[in-house]
């Protein structure tokens, strides 16, 4: 039998996932709206003093991003699991971790990247300006792929469950702690005019580590879930 090359299959899978997501725009918009709403609730819940808002902005925006990313996670393998496409993927001659990486990349393109696009708007709402906003975008650019990669492990473990949603948050949120600390720390430092290279370097290192290891764990988890 004549099988297409790995690179070909990889990009085909990536394209398929992105296309599928783009055809269901409503599902794409939900986490995004959630992100905006959560962040907009904080000024309502407390005294909307600009100085206070500026102080809490990095943490609030990042916690919002974390929750939005988690909400979007469920869809990563769900439909493929339901219609059996995931099982077919396991049967292909291609290494499963790489296919997983393609799916995660596609998922990030349609759920992580939009967070970056609305983040400047939220930054304005919370009086985050100038260099801090640039650093916020940089931290989101490094951090959101991490959220997708780590989250993929949790989704793969819970995909076979009917009500995996709450469990998923319990599995994934503790693992998100370092991302939150470094990313929000970088933005906070940028506001205070301090160096941010340390935190961004750590985020980059974590991303490199996660790209290497998370697909392996996700693939192992998928094999178990589909057993």
């Amino acid at each position: 039998m004549n099988t297409p090359s790995l690179a070909h299959a990889w990009f085909a899978l990536l394209r398929r996932d992105v296309m599928l997501a783009l055809r269901q725009r409503g599902q794409l918009a939900n986490p995004l709206l959630f992100f905006v709403l959560v962040v907009a609730l904080f000024p309502l819940g407390m005294n909307p003093d600009p100085a206070l808002l500026r102080n809490i902005a990095p943490g609030v925006i990042w916690v919002g991003a974390l929750l939005a990313a988690m909400l979007a996670l469920e869809s990563m393998f769900r439909s493929d699991f339901d219609d059996g496409a995931l099982e077919q993927m396991l049967l292909t001659p291609y290494p499963l971790p790489l296919l997983v990486l393609a799916k995660v990349a596609a998922h990030w393109l349609v759920t992580g990247l939009p967070l970056l696009l609305v983040a400047p708007l939220l930054a304005l709402l919370l009086n985050l300006e100038g260099e801090a906003m640039v650093i916020l975008l940089a931290s989101l650019a490094l951090g959101t792929p991490l959220l997708s990669l780590i989250g993929a492990i949790g989704v793969a473990l819970t995909v076979g469950l009917r009500r995996g949603g709450v469990l998923l948050s319990l599995l994934v949120l503790p693992l998100y702690v370092p991302v939150l600390i470094f990313a929000a720390g970088a933005v906070g430092n940028a506001q205070a005019g301090m160096a941010v290279t340390g935190q961004l370097a750590f985020l980059g290192a974590l991303l490199a580590l996660a790209v290497a290891l998370a697909p392996l764990a996700t693939a192992a988890a998928l094999r178990i879930s589909l057993d």
Binding site: L157, L167, P174, I181, I224, S225, D227
Partner: protein, 251 residues
């Protein structure tokens, strides 16, 4: 050597030796615990700074040690069960989880009780406290996943993957939290600085630590044995065992 170890991991052999070990560990834990409590509560001096509150430490420190030790045990057992497919290992990991979670909770609770008179607050966002709290969440996630999947073997393997992911993350979480709290808080309240701990205080601490470890061994083995019997209830040796227990009613 390996073959011998592997044989001890077979369900029937494990059931036989673990019963004896659990019994010895249980009695050992009780004896050491009574001795440890005696030294901790009566035969050790109050600390010159902490006063009588130092006695909380004789429970707190062993609990904190065990909370980490048990997670490492779970991860090691998970690795063994995933790589060599030894069923007993994943039963032991699953049995360890609730005990580990309780020790983590105990460490947090006693730490909080100690913190009120010492630091003047029930909780501070200190690095160690925070990572212990996150460890508790990791335990709860592990237990939650185990409970959520109905098929026991699948649940065990899924939880094993989660435990390994968690163990890779623990150092990352620990250092990120440490860095975070030193960045934000400046000088935190120093932990009890002891240049060299006196023998009268070290003795109850060690006794309590060994007692807690043996307690863990005894309870985890018993839980694993129960799980083993449940999973193997269809097998020949379990039936023979039960028949034997019932005074040979069927013979």
């Amino acid at each position: 050597m390996w073959a011998w170890l592997h044989r001890q991991g077979s369900p029937k052999r494990f059931y036989n030796w673990s019963g004896t070990l659990a019994r010895w560990a249980g009695w050992g834990s009780l004896l050491l615990g009574v001795a440890g409590l005696y030294y901790a509560l009566f035969a050790s001096p109050p600390d010159y700074q902490q006063g009588e509150s130092v006695r909380i430490m004789y429970v707190h420190v062993p609990a904190a040690w065990l909370s980490m030790f048990i997670y490492m045990n779970i991860a090691a057992a998970s690795l063994v069960s995933l790589v060599w497919r030894i069923k007993v290992a994943d039963m032991f990991a699953a049995a360890s989880a609730p005990i580990g979670a309780w020790f983590t909770f105990l460490a947090l609770a006693t730490g909080s009780l100690w913190g009120k008179p010492m630091w003047g607050t029930w909780w501070i966002w200190d690095a160690r406290l925070t990572s212990e709290l996150i460890l508790l969440f990791l335990y709860l996630g592990y237990i939650g996943l185990l409970a959520a999947i109905e098929e026991r073997e699948t649940a065990a393997r899924a939880a094993a993957v989660l435990a390994l992911v968690g163990v890779v993350n623990i150092p990352i979480i620990h250092y990120s939290v440490e860095w975070w709290s030193t960045l934000h808080q400046g000088a935190t309240v120093t932990k009890f600085d002891k240049p060299s701990i006196d023998w009268t205080m070290l003795r109850p601490l060690l006794l309590m630590a060994f007692s807690a470890t043996l307690f863990y061994v005894a309870v985890a083995l018993r839980l694993a044995r129960t799980e083993l019997l449940r999973r193997e209830r269809e097998s020949q040796w379990v039936r023979e065992l039960i028949d034997g227990r019932q005074g040979g009613g069927r013979r």
